[in-house]
Symmetry: C2
Subunit: 344 residues, 2 copies
């Protein structure tokens, strides 16, 4: 395969090689339009920096560690693709670890990554993490960490999240407006940021539409849906209620597919007997039976934003920083699982 060099790009765009080189490194010295021009041309021509050469040139390892609960989850795998799309073009390797929703594994992953000298970490907390000491210690030592999705309130750094309150409010409002009265919410452990934010959006929508909040319609799954049995038990409790729900709003990817499987096994007609709206980035939502109404997060963009913030921290360690929490709007994709047959 032909390889294209910085010189080729400079010649084609009529720029100096040093401008191209700095644009590709996302340098602050180059203006946004030029960077965009160079990046897009480089992408089009399949330009690839040589990360090994880059890492020999300076003392950095040119690698970023990513710790996520699990990769078999559409939201996280799309988010990782966002991270990699930026990181690779800036010459960083991305090293991926799963915590499997275990605090111990999260700690082990963190220790390992640090022992291998990564330049920074991107982390989404495991559902069983309540102690943050392993991260706090590293940040005190100067290792940049950016959190995304499941972020800790207690740690000050850049954070990238979806507007979980909004997404959840919009989903609940949609169910109310389509005539549902008893909307259940199946979610992750209460101490996760995503849980409290999504729960708050759900409650606020109920309140705004004059529906009393009933705690018995909310179920917490401590392993975030990783244990099918936990998800099934939660669903069964709801189905066994004197007044079972007429709609389910599961708060994550895995909880959504778990709930769908239980509804199918029990021959519960969707949406006639039970409407469902999932907080999920599942790729085949439209191919499901029935097509699934979903709150979708801009996972790719969230990953890109998270890695950009991290790389800024890595490359400008001495800059005074105002830490930011970047919040991304979700989209509600309305399909038949909440509305019945939709006619185009």
């Amino acid at each position: 395969m032909e390889t294209i060099t910085i010189k080729d790009i400079a010649r084609a765009l009529n720029l100096s090689t040093s401008t191209v080189s700095r644009a590709l490194r996302n340098s602050y010295e180059i203006n946004t339009e030029t960077k965009k021009l160079v990046m897009e041309y480089a992408e089009k021509m399949n330009y690839r920096p040589n990360p090994i050469a880059l890492s020999l040139r300076d003392s950095k390892s040119k690698s970023i560690g990513v710790i996520i609960p699990e990769i078999a989850n559409n939201f996280f795998s799309q988010l990782i693709n966002g991270i990699e799309s930026i990181a690779y073009n800036l010459g960083y390797h991305v090293v991926i670890f799963q915590s499997h929703e275990s605090y111990e594994r999260e700690v082990a992953n963190t220790n390992y990554l640090v022992s291998r000298k990564v330049d920074g970490l991107l982390v989404s907390l495991s559902s069983l993490t309540t102690n943050l000491h392993h991260f706090e210690e590293l940040m005190e030592k100067g290792l940049p960490i950016v959190f995304f999705d499941r972020v800790p309130n207690e740690i000050e750094t850049h954070k990238v999240v979806a507007d979980n309150f909004f997404g959840s409010y919009e989903a609940t409002e949609h169910l109310i407006k389509t005539g549902r009265k008893r909307i259940a919410h199946i979610t992750s452990p209460i101490y996760l940021s995503i849980t409290t934010e999504r729960l708050a959006g759900y409650k606020k929508a109920l309140e705004d539409y004059g529906i009393a909040f009933d705690e018995s319609y909310v179920k917490y799954c401590h392993h975030g849906g990783k244990l099918a049995s936990e998800n099934e038990a939660a669903m069964q409790e709801l189905l066994d209620m004197a007044e079972p729900p007429d709609a389910i709003f599961p708060a994550s990817d895995r909880l959504t597919t778990g709930c769908l499987a239980v509804l199918q096994k029990n021959n519960i007609r969707i949406p006639d007997d039970m409407a469902i709206v999932g907080f999920t980035n599942i790729g085949v939502a439209e191919l499901l039976n029935p097509p699934l109404t979903a709150v979708v997060q801009p996972a790719m963009e969230m990953g890109q934003q998270a890695v950009e913030l991290l790389i800024k921290l890595i490359e400008h360690p001495k800059k005074t920083i105002e830490y930011e929490t970047k919040s991304f709007r979700t989209s509600l994709m309305i399909r038949e699982s909440s509305t019945g047959k939709v006619h185009a």
Copy 2:
């Protein structure tokens, strides 16, 4: 959380601590029954070795690099969970990289992993890899590599594969027996092992049932379905034929969901107008519309086998080795997409 130690396990099972320790390291000195007993008890009690301590004790990094085409693929994410389930219990870290079906990125990942001193590699080739020099060079230097799924014929080492010929034969036979005459096969580039094996099973089934093989019913997607446009173009060519197929057999996870999306967009009724059987480990096959008939690979077991073979190579470098290719039988899960309404 309470942590359990090797001493606790030894006491509970009435074994010596050194036996427990060696059993947990999967030592050859301990018999299989004892190892099983110890491993199962350790798993039940959530025993976790300390990989950092382990790696300080000897000169190994106690880490394994895994290079796969993409993680947003049910087969690969399940396989990785198999790898991690064994590796973690034996005190190894698993470092995951995506090649994104790119030869250049596969080479960059390999170089990076080696520069970070992993003890061995588990690799499934990218769909664009035809040159194997980057792996051959490392093996000559003594780095153990085990290939899985997409394996190179040219390199001698342990390999773990599904019985792709069998899986493909069985799927094609099923379509023939349910009355299909013109069965199309959409697959990956021809130089991948999985492509030739699956193509051979498809051809043999046609031959055995007296159906002439017609090359125009076979479409190759050079990016393995990663580019939706490529998949759509292949499907469109099939649909535009004077005698379009009455069944589609896509050869991978992503090709399967891609084909389903095209069929839906074109309002083609499944299975009435077109039957479909996918070679896919998609978790929601049963929840699709209609439920999808699928050739399923034992991905978890394949991952476990691959990492066991790799760890043997790492821990017994001087042992004379007969390289093995372990082949796993697939299962055909018959659902409505190939048969119409299935009654329980």
